[in-house]
């Protein structure tokens, strides 16, 4: 039993990150109609659980249950808005509580999956959480009608106050919650959700619910957890990824202040456990560790570049789409264009570095962690400790940034358990140094991409050949995602199929290929992967084509988007709000780009200047987004602004070079991050069409770099064919 549940949990956790949209939990299950009635969480705060999504206190406070991770992206507030909208409660009385993975498991996963990645936090749970809010409303109204002995059709609710107009009676949600909990839940088929165009809570630019404790230092992150008798650990894992520890000399460290133990961790690392983390870290620096580094120590940026280049010229592929005969069309075209682009490995550099606290007792395993998938954390805790899942619990803390780093892998939980095994009944807090965090990421994969195009004598694109060669996320994290040698995930943004990451351009002769060239460097999801890299390759090259054809960048794209009206509409929105075609001050130049990823359509314009020394300043960006439904425009704008900062950091500075088999640029002095002074003015244009649900956190990042490099192209007359820009000589 344990094994089966565990296997399922782990598979789910990885898949939820690695694959795109997955089917949501069934409505009945997720509504919790068959779940036990009273949860521990509800019992703790004096609220009555009406159903699994809604608990109500006697003072009318409506507690909305959240199972997705809040790591800054605003999902907690957005989900609460969706539930509150259907519940028809008073938004001023809404609060939230997070369900733990252990609570979910104990109730047979009544809340469905908990993974939060791929910009899916709201879009894949919106249907069942809204139904949860609506079902609770129906039960509350029924309870009031029963109490008054009137037909339920005669009662109505507004802001959590139920009214029976004929008798002029009113009662608040808090007063009928206990009775409502005993009402037979409605058949899901009978739940009618509101037309989003009539929303009064969802769809509004409300403030976040979770800001107050971020302003005064009182918010507790996992790294801040205090527990009785807690010991701290610092770790150094093999710099050459995967190398095993041969020996270590801890003669000096063992005698340093506060040190309790110096130990090998999982064959590849050495940790120091001490009273304080500072003692652990400083002692660790004195430990002389020998690793069996082997052939991987010879791998460098140069050897990886050779391997990727070989992939460009090889004959096979590991994923493709095609129509017509691109190679022939290009060969016979009036004009041919060819270019090779490249992007580097990137770390996530979350502000809160990887950390976890674990306490192992005789019959219990507990972990305090920041995670993008608390079920994956629970599975890792159980697997590493050998304690059955039912006797494990994970206390989730909002991560200080995630960006894809804290998903299914849970490497830091595995490490902390390995250390905690040596200290029974003692909480062990493992904190990675910034250098460790940079050295042991699951990096955004490296790739190169050869683009070839043919134009006819009218300057129309008649053939396009894309061949990208690079590392595969699925190969590292999810081999089951590779079917018969084909890894379609690497083609994100270039798909023919509608819905998730469709290429908007129609080209009569098209061949898109991916060839897998893996390395020993761990790779994983990274905000907007792989649409980030693929969007840059495609949009920078389309710019080259437009300029070669002598056409306007916007008009050239418009003509290729005729068959894809949603792509075209966001492009037009960005162009209009971005003043495309209007005069700019001397020295300023515009670029434009569009792309689709994570279920949403994005486009951007950028205004840049390039000084005589080749230094670029981005002055203004306008981003248009069609995410289908806009649950909170104020928070969507925050995500768009954030995607610009994250995307520009990568475009200008981001690079993890591999030297002697290991990562370089291990702190912010060498892995530079965009600062406030470099942040352009960002204008967000949200153009929802209400006929689908797309993501928000990731989609717009894929147009940030291309809009900027296309503006640089306009400024300098030369394309930017590799990132980061700090390595590119522009003048």
């Amino acid at each position: 039993m344990k094994k089966m549940i565990f296997g399922k949990g782990q598979k789910l956790s990885r898949r939820s990150f690695v694959v795109g949209a997955t089917a949501a939990a069934s409505g009945t299950l997720a509504l919790g109609f068959k779940a036990p009635l009273v949860s521990e969480a509800a019992a703790q705060n004096g609220a009555t659980e009406v159903n699994i999504w809604v608990a109500i206190k006697p003072d009318d406070t409506c507690v909305v249950r959240i199972v997705r991770t809040e790591m800054g992206q605003g999902t907690r507030t957005g989900l609460a808005q969706l539930v509150a909208e259907e519940l028809e409660c008073d938004w001023a009385k809404v609060t939230t509580e997070s369900i733990t993975a252990g609570q979910n498991l104990a109730r047979k996963r009544a809340w469905g999956e908990m993974g939060t990645g791929g910009s899916r936090g709201i879009r894949i749970s919106q249907d069942y959480v809204r139904k949860g809010g609506a079902a609770a409303r129906m039960m509350l109204l029924q309870a009031a009608a029963d109490q008054w002995k009137v037909p339920v059709g005669e009662v109505a609710v507004s802001k959590g106050i139920i009214t029976h107009s004929p008798s002029k009676r009113t009662i608040s949600y808090g007063k009928v919650a206990a009775a409502a909990a005993k009402v037979t839940p409605p058949d899901p088929k009978d739940i009618k959700l509101k037309d989003p165009r009539t929303w009064t809570i969802a769809g509004k630019p409300l403030k976040r619910l979770d800001t107050a404790d971020k302003l005064n230092g009182s918010k507790i992150f996992s790294i801040d957890v205090k527990l009785p008798a807690l010991l701290n650990a610092a770790i150094r894992d093999a710099p050459v990824f995967g190398s095993k520890v041969v020996s270590f000399d801890d003669a000096k460290a063992a005698k340093m202040p506060g040190v309790k133990k110096v130990m090998k961790v999982r064959d590849t690392g050495v940790a120091v456990v001490a009273d304080t983390w500072w003692h652990a870290k400083t002692a660790l620096e004195t430990v002389d560790i020998k690793w069996d580094e082997g052939e991987n120590a010879k791998v460098s940026n140069a050897t990886i570049a050779e391997r990727l280049k070989e992939g460009l010229g090889a004959s096979e592929n590991n994923g493709e789409r095609k129509n017509g005969d691109a190679l022939a069309a290009i060969a016979s075209a009036a004009k041919k264009i060819e270019a090779v682009y490249s992007t580097p490995f990137l770390s996530h550099a979350t502000m809160e570095m990887m950390n976890a606290t674990v306490r192992l007792s005789a019959d219990k395993a507990e972990a305090w962690v920041p995670s993008q998938n608390y079920e994956a954390s629970l599975a890792a805790l159980s697997e590493a400790s050998g304690v059955p899942l039912a006797k494990c619990e994970v206390y989730g803390y909002d991560p200080g940034g995630g960006f894809g780093r804290r998903g299914g892998t849970q490497d830091y939980v595995h490490q902390t358990v390995a250390i905690a095994k040596e200290f029974p009944d003692t909480p062990i807090k493992l904190i990675w140094s910034r250098e460790e965090d940079q050295a042991h990421d699951f990096y955004r994969p490296i790739s190169v991409c050869k683009m070839s195009a043919g134009l006819n004598d009218q300057g129309e694109l008649v053939g396009l050949h894309v061949r990208s060669s690079g590392q595969s996320i699925n190969a590292w994290l999810n081999p089951a995602g590779i079917v018969a040698g084909k890894d379609q995930r690497q083609l994100q943004g270039w798909y023919e199929a509608a819905g998730d990451a469709q290429l908007g351009y129609t080209v009569p002769n098209l061949l898109i290929e991916y060839v897998m060239r893996n390395t020993h460097v761990p790779v994983g999801p990274w905000r907007g992967v792989n649409t980030n890299q693929n969007g840059y390759y495609m949009e920078a090259f389309i710019e080259e084509c437009a300029r070669t054809a002598g056409k306007d960048s916007l008009e050239f794209r418009r003509s290729l988007l005729k068959n894809h009206p949603k792509h075209l509409a966001v492009l037009n929105a960005a162009a209009e709000k971005g003043d495309w075609g209007k005069p700019l001050p001397a020295g300023m130049h515009r670029g434009i780009a569009q792309f689709m990823g994570y279920g949403s359509y994005s486009a951007a314009t950028a205004e840049v200047s390039v000084n005589p020394q080749g230094k670029v300043k981005v002055h203004r960006m306008v981003l248009a987004l069609n995410c289908g439904h806009a649950v909170n425009p104020h928070q969507i704008a925050a995500q768009v602004e954030g995607s610009v900062a994250y995307g520009l950091s990568a475009a200008f500075y981001g690079e993890i070079p591999i030297e002697n088999g290991r990562a370089a640029n291990l702190n912010f002095d060498s892995y530079e991050i965009l600062r406030l002074a470099e942040m352009p003015k960002v204008e967000t244009v949200i153009v929802p069409t209400y006929d689908f649900w797309g993501g928000v956190g990731e989609p717009t990042i894929c147009v940030v770099a291309p809009a900027v490099v296309n503006a640089i192209h306009a400024a300098t007359g030369k394309p930017v064919r590799s990132l980061p820009l700090k390595n590119v000589k522009l003048v």
């Binding site: 630019p205 403030k207 502000m351 910034r434 925050a638 602004e641 702190n667 600062r675 406030l676």
Partner: protein, 162 residues
């Protein structure tokens, strides 16, 4: 045993002299609002005020702080989050994950003490802390709002809760 004046309270601290002030604040005094982000004075997550000046506590040996020096951490900036910077931060809805915000707020408070009406250039120069969520645009707005430099776009746009 050394004495440190933190948030108006004198505390006895026992630690090796080269222990960074950050880790004394976090692990010995037990105030965790001040954050570890890089350890090399790059990101500013560890920003505190020492005698009114913003300092990156990860790179200051605690023994270099004198008993008479007044250290203020985010927890001591105001009672009830009532500092104008905290109020502006709430009004503009600045934080995303929140991890860097203690340091951002401390940096902004120090800026406004020196320059009550900062220009954009002043803000560019003073606000060099790293935020990976990318809240920079709202930080700029909030600093202007705290300075009373007129109403700001996001603050107008976001509806109040009640």
């Amino acid at each position: 045993m050394a004495k440190l004046n933190i948030n108006g309270k004198v505390r006895d601290v026992q630690a090796e002299p080269d222990t960074p002030l950050l880790w004394v604040i976090r692990e010995i005094v037990g105030l965790t609002g001040t954050k570890y982000g890089c350890g090399v004075a790059q990101c500013g997550a560890c920003s505190v005020h020492i005698n009114g000046e913003v300092q990156r506590s990860c790179s200051i040996p605690f023994s270099s702080v004198k008993a008479g020096d007044k250290i203020v951490t985010i927890e001591g900036l105001s009672a009830n989050s009532s500092h104008p910077v905290q109020k502006a931060w709430a009004s503009v809805d600045v934080p995303q994950c929140g991890y860097c915000q203690s340091g951002q707020i401390m940096a902004a408070a120090a800026l406004l003490k020196k320059k009550p009406k900062p220009t954009d250039a002043d803000i560019d120069e003073a606000m060099t802390n790293i935020c990976r969520c990318g809240t920079y645009q709202r930080i700029r707005e909030a600093v202007h709002l705290a300075a009373g430099n007129g109403s700001t776009r996001a603050a107008d746009r976001a509806q109040r809760r009640s």
